[in-house]
Point group: C2
Chain length 217, copies 2
DNA sequence: TGTACATCAGTGAACGCGCGTTCACTGATGTAC
DNA sequence: TGTACATCAGTGAACGCGCGTTCACTGATGTAC
């Protein structure tokens, strides 16, 4: 009685869809997005390949849903960290934990772009949520930027802040958050891709040092 | 008479090899590394597919050579910029120019890692050259790091600097160069992957602001 | 200079693979009267 | 409660594709005597 309006068939559909997504996620986690195979998923579920077409229009739609799903998960993690009051460092560590839990999922969002693929509007919206979480976590007011180029870009942002989602933060904060985000992505993606592997130092310490440096005024 | 010891056959071989590599490079530039197809290359050259096996043991070897080639090219660009005396900003702009000239080539090196693939020792050596160029370009002495985590990592690097290729720079400089490199990669890879596309601001200005901020003490 | 032999670039057929996707269908589940 | 019909999940065969790679071969180029 609790589940009003949800027929058994709808429940079943949602369940199977979820199972497909879950197996797809596992496949990506194991061998990356390029290895995602509809037939392999079907085989794992014990059904025939064409049966999947009851749930997804095709491979592209499945990938799109996986991307949306991953963005959603990442945005939620960022939001939770912000709400917990840890500030930018808090968000930074949350993002790192998210990425380390499933590196291929991170690369699904921020890795090599797929040549033909173009992201739908939904993901742009969710990506904006991540920026919003960072803006909420950022301390105010930001210190004045040193350096002419830095000041120039802050000015530039004043006139190009359509992506802020209506956030009232000053342009200097937008700049700071943007810079924070790019730097974070830098360390993180190099670590995840294994580029520090042969260098001998501990990536966690580098990350901590970056976050430390980025967070103080 | 000038080309001592190089038989016509060797010349021919080198030439064909170079042509294969060039077409492979074009293919990657157009549609990414995952789209690289031996048969397609052969067709473009007007020869049969199996003929390529006279020049490469297989697809993997070709990709490995392309990666080595790209690293070589990038390291040369970094070295040239350093020798020109532009300091870290000079190297930064050189690397950006290199990446923008062929984004897929950049992603071949620093994009989503290929699941099965493992880089041979050669590329590690060349990658170290890039760090060496940055170390040569970095100003000395570096300022003391603010923040406990930053100081910790510098200390840590003192004990884990095997990757410095024997460079005499102090650990603080290693730290600075490492941080410079990761941050650079952050802005650059997000720009190349198109993540700034919908945001409205000019990526070049953000890059300039980052380089500006990163270069001053 | 001429002949016999070795090297080696390139061919064409074939193998086996897995992929996404379509189609006409069966059979179970749900709905209407 | 029972019957007639509609919905829809899943099947199995098939299509067409392009891939990397192997193999035995032809024919041109180079080498040795």
């Amino acid at each position: 009685m609790a589940e009003t309006g949800v027929t058994p068939r709808e429940r079943y559909r949602a369940q199977v869809r979820a199972e497909i997504m879950e197996l797809a996620r596992q496949q990506i986690a194991t061998a990356g997005a390029s290895a995602l195979s509809l037939n392999a998923i079907a085989k794992q579920m014990g059904i025939s390949g064409p049966a999947l077409y009851r749930y997804f229009a095709g491979r592209d739609e499945l990938i799109t849903d996986l991307i949306k799903d991953a963005y959603r998960s990442l945005a939620d993690a960022a939001r939770a960290a912000t709400d917990q009051g840890g500030g930018l460092p808090g968000v930074a560590y949350a993002l790192r934990a998210w990425a380390l839990a499933d590196p291929h999922r991170y690369f699904l969002l921020y890795g090599t772009p797929v040549p033909g693929y173009h992201a739908p509007d939904d993901v742009t919206t969710i990506a904006a949520e991540i920026m919003a979480a960072l803006l909420d976590a950022a301390p105010a007011p930001p210190l004045p930027q040193d350096g002419a180029a830095a000041a120039d870009f802050t000015d530039h942002l004043e006139r190009h802040r359509s992506w802020d989602g209506g956030h009232p933060a000053p342009a200097a904060t937008l700049h700071r958050v943007l810079s924070f985000w790019t730097r974070l992505h830098g360390v993180l993606s190099l670590e995840l891709a294994g580029h520090f592997a042969g260098m001998g130092f501990d990536p966690a310490l580098l990350f901590a040092a970056e976050v430390d440096g980025l967070s103080r005024p």
